[in-house]
Each structure stands twice: as C-alpha cells, then as structure tokens.
C-alpha cells in the first residue's frame, strides 16, 4: 500500500502506532478505575482520573454495525472499493471505527465475531483492521 498519506504520530498517540507495527492493538486504560478508552484521552471519561496508561487489548470484538464505502474519500481507498466500514465493540468495552477485511460485504452482519488484523506497508507502518474471528 502507498504510505505517503500515513498519519504522523505524536507523543500522545505513539504507543498506538508502535503497537500496531508490532502486531498489538494497544489502547489507553485508566489506572484508577480500569476503564478502557479510544481514541486518545488525557482524562478518564468515567472517573476523571488523569492516571492513564497504555495496555494491550484482546483484539477480540463484535461488529456493532457496518456500511459499504462506495466512493473514494482518501488515497487508501483507491482501487479497493467498496471498503467495508465498521464499528467494532471490543471485549474491553470500547467501540472503535475501523474496516473489515477478508470477508464478502454481503456476509457481514451486526453481531458477527471479529478479531484484530494489521495491514503492513513495506516500510513497517500498520493500519488496524478487523477480520472474521
């Protein structure tokens, strides 16, 4: 895949991108109440604590909903439409916006079990996606 469009991480989100490069789904977790969060927060949405740590998530989840992108909005979509957009509910209680791969669009249903996967570029960048479990 082309990588000129790949996001440039900063200190606040580097663990997420480094995790993806090494094949891990890494998310923020409140050290005080255990609440998992996505995307990046500086304060726990549940208890208000600022003691936020990065931790490896299970990568297991369920499709909350899905849709089929039929128009290119981004260079990554070139030559690969339709893209299956999805919101996936992780076991950790977090809902993430992502894409589904390795599945026919017609076979996707809300409630389907999925697991994390990574699209690696030749230079090591990785996009977090999900495929059927």
């Amino acid at each position: 895949m082309s990588t000129s469009w790949f996001p440039e991480p900063d200190n606040s989100n580097l663990p997420y991108f480094d995790g993806a490069r090494s094949g891990k789904l890494r998310l923020q977790r409140c050290d005080d109440c255990g609440n998992w969060m996505f995307p990046v927060r500086s304060r726990c949405q549940s208890c208000g604590s600022t003691q936020i740590k990065w931790a490896d998530a299970s990568g297991r989840g369920t499709v909350y909903t899905h849709a089929l992108l039929r128009r290119e909005y981004h260079p990554r979509h070139a030559g690969r439409l339709p893209v299956i957009m999805a919101q996936v509910d992780l076991e950790e209680g977090v809902r993430v916006n992502t894409n589904l791969v390795d599945v026919e669009p017609g076979a996707v249903k809300a409630g389907m079990k999925v697991t994390v996967a990574f699209e690696h570029s030749p230079v090591g960048e990785a996009v977090v996606v999900f495929r059927p479990a």
């Binding site: 469009w5 996001p7 440039e8 991480p9 900063d10 606040s12 989100n13 997420y16 991108f17 969060m37 996505f38 995307p39 990046v40 949405q45 909350y64 909903t65 899905h66 849709a67 089929l68 992108l69 039929r70 128009r71 909005y73 981004h74 990554r76 979509h77 339709p82 893209v83 957009m85 999805a86 919101q87 509910d89 992780l90 950790e92 209680g93 977090v94 809902r95 993430v96 916006n97 992502t98 894409n99 249903k109 809300a110 409630g111 996009v127």
Partner: protein, 387 residues
C-alpha cells in the same frame, strides 16, 4: 393546571431567503433573512430587542451580525451552537425570554453558505477539521463527516429489524411528492422507486437520494409573547410545548446510539408541556438529514414501536393524502437544508394555514431538530390556537 410556558409565546415572523447555489456571504444571507422576517411580522427594526444567532457548517455568522443589522440596543444577544437542534433551541430560549420580560421580540436566525462555485455538493460536508494522527485515521477508514455515521446507524436498524431499502425509498419519494407542491423547494421533479434505486450509492445503504441537500441560504423567525402576537400582521403560531435531550455515547460499547436517540426523552416532556398526547398530533416536521433519521425519530417519538418504523412508513402515510403528513415542504431531502430551520419554517407556514396546495391539518404540529449523529435533540409543539 397547565404549564406556564404552554402558549406563553408565539412565532410572529418568518424570513426565508433564496436557497441553493446562492453565492453570497452567509452573514449577508442572515441579514436578509432577518429583514424579511421583520417585514413579514409587520414590525419595525427598532421593535427587535433580542437576537439569537446560529451558524451552519461554514460557521461564518456570529455576534457581529447585530452590527451589520444596525441593532445597537438589544436586551438579548448571543451566538448558539447545538448543530441541528439549534433552531429548536433558539426558539425555546426566545420563548422563555419573552414570557419572562427579558425582551419583547426576539429574532432567531440561521444562515450558511457552504456551497462554492465549481465545487461538488458533497465536498461541503466531508469534514476535514481533525489534525492529529488519531484523527487522521478516520478518513483513512472512510469516516468523513456525518454521512457514513448515519449510514452505519441505518444498517444496524436493517440488521436488527429487517428494515429495507424500500422503506428508506418511501421517505424520499413521499417527501418529493410534497416538494412538488412547494414553489420554494429545490428538487421538485417526480421521483419513483426506480429513480431512487438509480441514484448512485454514497455509503451503502445510502444512495445520494437518502441524503439531504446542501444549501446556501438564511432563515429567521421572530418570537414574541402570545399576547402581542394576537394583534400582529400574521396569524400567530403558538408555542405550546418544547423540550431538549442531549447525549453522546460514541466509543462506548454498552450503548446503542444508532437505534436509541435522545428524541425518546425529548418528545414526552414537550407533549406534557403542551398538555397533549401523541394521538393529538396532526402533522410532523421531522429533521431529515438522512431518510433513516425520520424512521428513528418517529419510533423514538412513539408513533410506532422501536424497530417497526420501516413498516410504519411503508404505506405512504407520511406523504400527501397519508394519515400522518410529514415534512410537507419536502424536508431537507427535497426542499432545502437549513439545519433545524427547515422543519421550523415549514411548521410556521403550515401553522398559519399558508401551505397552499400542500396545506395539511395543522391543529397540532410536532417539530424535531437533530444534531450531531443522533446526539442533540430539540422538540417543539406548535399550533394555530393557544391552549
């Protein structure tokens, strides 16, 4: 005993500019809408002592509008933002202000000019504000603006309840039939199921025709006390009840925001203030940024059970001649998109009995405003008679 705000205030003026590819500054469109509303109400500019301002996606109208308008002695002035719920919110705050003596005649105005010459319609709302790496992930996955989020919500409704593409089509077709009778509507050519199905996909399950228009324009309404409204130029449209409900469950896996919207908490309180039941409602003006929004809102308002909205609209009851006339001007899908001012403006026209060929039974009009992705909600209950 009835609620003190039931029929305490009324809408006495309406100003609607030309709509669509009107290449003018949003602030100028806002100013024109205000002058049109003042003239419509039979007021003088000096009678206006309150101004509430809301800007659309272009975010180009704010407090300085009062300087452009030469309104230098105001008792009430603010800029507000509640996205698609803003219009309903402004009218609610204006009603409370006039009922409690803070001001006499409050103008509520919305204007936007997202369309630029030579630019495609969809580009105006594709969104591009996010800057950091996490934010950059969204467009990479296809999450650009509100449209994909509503498509995802609609698909969940289909997966859970068997709602079909034909149900969404029914909304678009019914509203186009209304629009054909509205000289001010942008899209008036007939639409049938084949035409709907031939409309290109954007994010499936949404065709282009499941999505609202994008419009440049401005709308203003004037809220005054019920007592003053009775002696004014236009038939008063009384504000019988109102409420709001807001929430944002994004990112929380234990919530179901695609299906259960804040509309469910807003409508019962608005109806209670109006001392009315849902069965008393004779027409609806429902915020219809997408076809699915109408189904979700009608369900949450209680017109049918959750999940049955598709079947509820399938017989055409929302269209001309149907049992629940809804979005009688064509709505945001077919008339013009001025956020929450689209349903409000049509409700005022209908409440006055000025709907012409499309006039529907107007005893009690339910109006919704919806912002974000089914997150921010305002409800109004309007009527030509006071309680």
């Amino acid at each position: 005993m009835s609620h003190p705000m039931n029929s305490a205030a009324a809408i006495c003026g309406l100003g609607v500019t030309a709509m669509g590819r009107v290449y003018r500054e949003a602030e100028d469109l806002a100013a024109e809408a205000v002058y049109l509303a003042i003239e419509d109400a039979g007021l003088k500019k000096s009678d206006v002592d309150g101004l509430l301002i809301n800007a659309g996606v272009g975010n180009a109208v704010s407090i300085p509008l009062h300087i452009s308008l030469g309104l230098q002695e105001l008792n009430l002035l603010t800029f507000m933002q509640g996205y698609g719920s803003s219009a309903g919110q402004m009218i609610q705050y204006a009603a409370m202000a006039v009922a409690n003596g803070l001001a006499n005649n409050v103008v509520c105005v919305f204007a936007d000019a997202p369309l630029q010459e030579g630019q495609r319609t969809g580009a105006a709302y594709a969104g591009g504000g996010r800057r950091n790496a996490m934010g950059s992930l969204y467009p990479l996955y296809g999450f650009a603006g509100a449209l994909p989020m509503y498509a995802l919500a609609a698909q969940r409704h289909m997966d859970l309840y068997g709602t079909t593409q034909d149900h969404f089509a029914q909304i678009a077709i019914g509203q186009r039939q209304w629009a054909a009778m509205n000289p001010a509507a942008t899209k008036r050519e007939p639409l049938d199921l084949a035409g709907y199905n031939a409309s290109p996909w954007v994010v499936e399950p949404f065709h282009v025709l499941d999505c609202c228009l994008v419009s440049n324009g401005g709308v203003a309404v004037i809220v005054t006390s019920a007592e003053r409204a009775r002696d004014m130029k236009q038939p008063p449209v009384y504000i019988r009840g109102f409420a709001q409900a807001h929430g944002h469950d994004a990112g929380m896996a234990n919530k179901d925001p695609a299906i259960h919207t804040p509309a469910a908490r807003s409508a019962p309180r608005a109806l209670a203030m109006a001392d009315a039941k849902l069965a008393d409602i004779t027409q609806c003006q429902i915020y219809d940024c997408y076809t699915y929004t109408v189904i979700a809102t009608l369900e949450d308002y209680g017109f049918c059970r959750k999940g049955e909205g598709g079947a509820f609209v399938a017989d055409g009851k929302l269209g001309p001649g149907g049992g629940l006339p809804t979005n009688t001007g064509g709505g945001e899908l077919s008339s013009y998109y001025m956020w929450g001012m689209t349903p409000v403006a049509e409700a005022v026209i209908q409440g006055r009995g000025q709907g012409g060929a499309r006039q529907a039974k107007n005893d009690l009009i339910l109006v919704s405003g919806n912002g974000g992705v089914l997150n921010y909600h305002a409800t109004l209950v309007l009527a030509p008679e006071a309680a």
